[in-house]
Amino acid sequence: MTDASGRCACCAIVPPKVLRHIARRGTAAQRDAALATLATEATHRLTRATAQSLGSGAARAAYAGASAAPVKSRTIYDVAHRTTLPGKIVRSEGQRATRDAEASEAYDGLGATFDFYWQAYRRNSIDDAGMALHASVHYGRKYDNAFWDGRQMVFGDGDGDLFNRFTSSLDVIAHELTHGVTGDEVNLTYLGESGALNESISDVFGSLVKQWAKRQTAAKADWLIGAELLTSKVQGVALRSLKAPGTAFDDPVLGKDDQPATMAGYVETSADNGGVHTNSGIPNHAFYLAAAAIGGYAWEKAGRVWYETVRDKRLKPAATFAQFADRTIVNADHLFGGTVKTAIAGAWQAVGVAISAP
């Protein structure tokens, strides 16, 4: 029996340990229902804790309505080529699109990412508690970047020579929003290996949102980040490739893609917070290898394991690649059992990350 959201109604009272057993041993339908319920459990736990701490009737009423599909709250601002955030509101939730392509792409991209997190993992926005999404477009002049400032997303128009507008790639929007998710969960320190994990998690879920929107399997996906950003003048296909790190571009102005695919190529540097955008190629490639080995839709198993690892309270902000890898293996075992666990362990071994999880 399922409720309106497709979850198993009886699973609401089943302990997580039993749900995990069902997820591993049950029929396909039982497994899907158990996994959906496990995903929702975290949202309920937070809401329930809040309601209990308040102890009021209003709080309990709010908790009673928490199982309904969440409501998006997006606001897009135009910085008008200045840099004082957030700028002037140009579109709020439910309003019609304007003629501004950047504003429309930001609105739609935030919506797709919100929907992905809810439908794939039952996560209600960045903080799993319905946080409103804010994005500013037309930041600066010919600005070749996008960033998360800790509260909102910011997108430049690109210079039009090498870079198109930074809202043109859905995976870029999802990348920035995922920085908010990671910050809300483990808040991986933005330095060295933990910083590269932080960047990699944003690339992984950036790619997964694009795959989910296109209903692409791991075999069909391009595994590229920022493919739409580069103009035709650039000799390259994207900014990064999870499938083949180090091959995304080789251009006289941009240089050559320097992302390593394995630990043998790990770059020791003081630049870019210890190479967070460079060494992210290693966990990126591990995710690709795991997803490719598992097959099917990458967000369902490999993505689910990565998501649960980001939420894993045993993962620490200063986590190394090896510590993150160990938690993915433990979580894969809990969620899906041997085949997925073996695929993920093999992926980490292939990129040279030493694992110690049994």
């Binding site: 010919k142 996008a146 210079d159």
Partner: protein, 106 residues
């Protein structure tokens, strides 16, 4: 006046764009060189306070600008988002000059 710019970080952090680039205002068209000097003065570059990225920011850039105007020398770190409009205008102008230099279109 010699200006060196280094850009660190950013979502589109790319090796070719991360290399420091030096420009000499004496080699720029006169109007562009004069405009740079005006922007340096307006931003009070030699007295400005350096800024660091917000601990919660991700993919934001930091600009390191070194200027030698003959009488004074200084290297200054400026992190995004840049709140001061005068400093923002100076950074934009330097980035435009170094982009042209990098692409051979100066």
């Amino acid at each position: 006046m010699k200006i060196e710019l280094s850009v660190d970080g950013g979502f589109a952090r790319l090796p070719g764009l991360a290399k420091p680039v030096t420009i000499d205002s004496a080699t720029l068209p006169a109007a562009r060189g004069a405009a740079l000097a005006t922007l340096v003065a307006r931003a009070r570059f030699f007295d400005a306070t350096p800024t660091s990225p917000s601990p919660a920011a991700r993919d934001a850039r930091t600009y390191t600008i070194a200027i030698d105007d003959g009488a004074r020398q200084r290297a200054l770190c400026v992190a995004e988002p840049i709140a001061d409009p005068s400093m923002r205008a100076l950074v934009d102008a330097i980035v435009a000059c170094t982009d042209d230099a990098r692409r051979g279109t100066a």
